[in-house]
Symmetry: C2
Subunit: 370 residues, 2 copies
């Protein structure tokens, strides 16, 4: 008896995965982490109204979720002053990126991103047979001009910018991003990943123009709204672009409870303001910890702080490993020169104090090994 | 400014969607349904322990779910006496079918299913450029022999059997299905969709053989466990087949709360037995209602009863529309000869009584129009 025949493309794909989850690391260690500061989650949790809505929805989960996410999209359209036809929900930005790559990328098609940018984009592009072209970060910032130039050069189907950026935490202002939109080559679509936008200063996001087919924006409830495990995000773009998702998306793919939670979360404006203030304070706390250890905290517009360990990737990886031995879970940029850094989530004082206590020991251990 | 360039395949796809949700129908009607009996959901809800687990998980949703679903897969492996490497979780069978089609179907590749079988499979196959070949139902049953013969004839990558079947509710016994597995042509994979298995008589499912690469089984928490809105299911198959999903799946795509709910649900064995008894009683109740209205209830091994209205598709569609006017949501098979029927979920007495009260009027209205 023989097995199935996979497609030639699938046979060519590696079995590697973009991220190993913290639970897998805990199983390998044989004990849990004391502080979970590595997965770009929000330790401040979801807004209480969202928790309540999701808990209440649990008993109603015998019903499929509304595949049109009508109520939620109506509220988002209201908030963004766009039409509902400008918004499609998905199971987090990861799911939306998968659908978008599928819509645009046939085998051999070019996609441009930053070297060391979000790995899940690259995973999707490879998965559909696309070819990734990268440009380096420039002073720890994504290089808008170089991304556009490369997109023109390779006639990219897609060019990706995360603003604010992950993994460095840096950002460009709205004028710079708008200039990038204006420079998008004909036939290229700019993916503007704004997962961390709520943490950024006013003036980071260019105005939403629902008629502009050159850019599609990705937003999520995973970060500021603290709902990473609920798997819900949305894409915002020109109606003809958004409409294409209906051809390929998993229509019933978003949990009914997550939809209810997201809708409730949108009403939690005072909570959101408080949470942003807590995150900003957490970033300052982390920057202080970095300074006290002769490290440089890169200025961040996200809910994490990327810290320069002052040496190479090998040293930073040793710091990371030593932190894990001390039960602190953090991650780091994968690619040089970003991999001289570690990346730490801002969180409540309990976790900040645990990190503060562990870091000097971890640095000492790493120095000993180096 | 120009828009993005979609792939030629995407440009060739229709914008149609497999199912319009009941919420969309309610919005179009301008009022809610009194009984939701059309979406193959379980009106008996999730087990209370699962509701509790999901409600409790709501506050923990700031964390991404374990992308390996380790605890859940370990328990499922234990239950099925297979290895964890034989199981992959997904966001419902819909999501898993999408991944599986992507793994196997390149443009032009053949897939075999029943004419009038589960439309979402066809949606995925079309979405990846595959070609659907159908064989008719035979006496309201899927025709295993004809499916296999067609698969051999067209050298199908995939052949699909739902057992028990949707939309007719009929089933084959384990010996028949095992014979089908033995007859799978070289290079074809049998998708055995067992979404409704818990409702079927003992002896419906062939033994799970984790070393057999000719068949992949789909299971879900959407039906017997009443968790359709939580979007969680799994595929069960030979390790080398299951491993391929890691190349294409959305690794963080399953809600953390849904994972917790599913794990709790697996422990609710007494609840499951009670629910199966309630569903069986609901089927009997529906069959009685059908008889009282001179209709034939097709014997069902699912949580719905498909009822022959005794005329053609036009008449059954009129019955469906008249039921909707009376605030009863049911669906019906899309394709002749199944479309002579309507399909009604078994549920608690309240909904059964509402259906019982509405059906005679709906039949009268349909007769008047015919």
């Amino acid at each position: 008896m023989t097995g199935p025949r996979f497609t030639p493309l699938v046979n060519s794909l590696p079995a590697t995965v973009p991220f190993v989850g913290p639970e897998a690391l805990e199983r390998a260690r044989g004990r849990p982490f004391a502080a979970r500061l590595g997965a770009n989650e929000s330790l401040f949790g979801p807004p209480p109204v969202a928790v309540e809505a999701m808990a209440k929805a649990a008993a109603e989960l015998w019903q499929y979720g509304d595949p049109e996410s009508w109520d939620l999209r109506a509220e988002l359209a209201n908030i963004h002053a766009v039409g509902m036809e400008n918004i499609v929900m998905g199971s987090g930005i990861d799911g939306l990126l998968g659908s978008l790559v599928r819509l645009c990328v046939a085998p051999g098609d070019a996609v441009v991103t930053s070297l060391g940018g979000y790995p899940t984009l690259n995973y999707h592009v490879a998965g559909y047979g696309g070819v990734i072209h990268t440009v380096p970060f420039r002073g720890d910032h994504e290089d808008c001009d170089a991304l556009i130039a490369k997109a023109a050069e390779v006639e990219a189907k897609l060019v990706y910018l995360a603003n604010p950026d992950n993994p460095m935490g840096t950002w460009h202002d709205a004028a710079k991003v708008q200039a990038m939109i204006e420079a998008v080559p004909d036939g290229t679509l700019l993916i503007l990943d704004e997962a961390y936008l709520e943490f950024a200063p006013q003036g980071t996001a260019p105005a939403v123009n629902p008629d502009d087919p050159r850019v599609i924006r990705m937003r999520t409830f995973s970060k500021a709204y603290g709902m990473a495990g609920a798997r819900i995000g949305y894409a915002l773009g020109a109606a003809p672009v958004i409409a294409e998702f209906a051809k390929v998306r998993n229509h019933f793919g978003v949990s009914r409870a997550s939809q209810a939670g997201a809708l409730a979360a949108l009403g939690a404006t005072a909570w959101l303001a408080e949470t942003k203030a807590k995150v900003a304070a957490g970033r300052d706390r982390l920057a202080g910890i970095a300074r006290a250890n002769q490290m440089t905290a890169i200025r961040s517009a996200t809910n994490f702080v990327t810290m320069d360990c002052g040496k190479d990737g090998e040293f930073a990886r040793a710091v990371l490993a030593a932190l894990a031995d001390l039960d602190i879970f953090v991650r780091m940029p994968f690619v040089a020169p970003g991999d001289r850094c570690i990346r730490v989530s801002a969180g409540p004082e309990r976790e900040m104090a645990l990190f503060e206590a562990a870091l000097p020991q971890a640095l000492k251990t790493a120095h000993t090994k180096a």
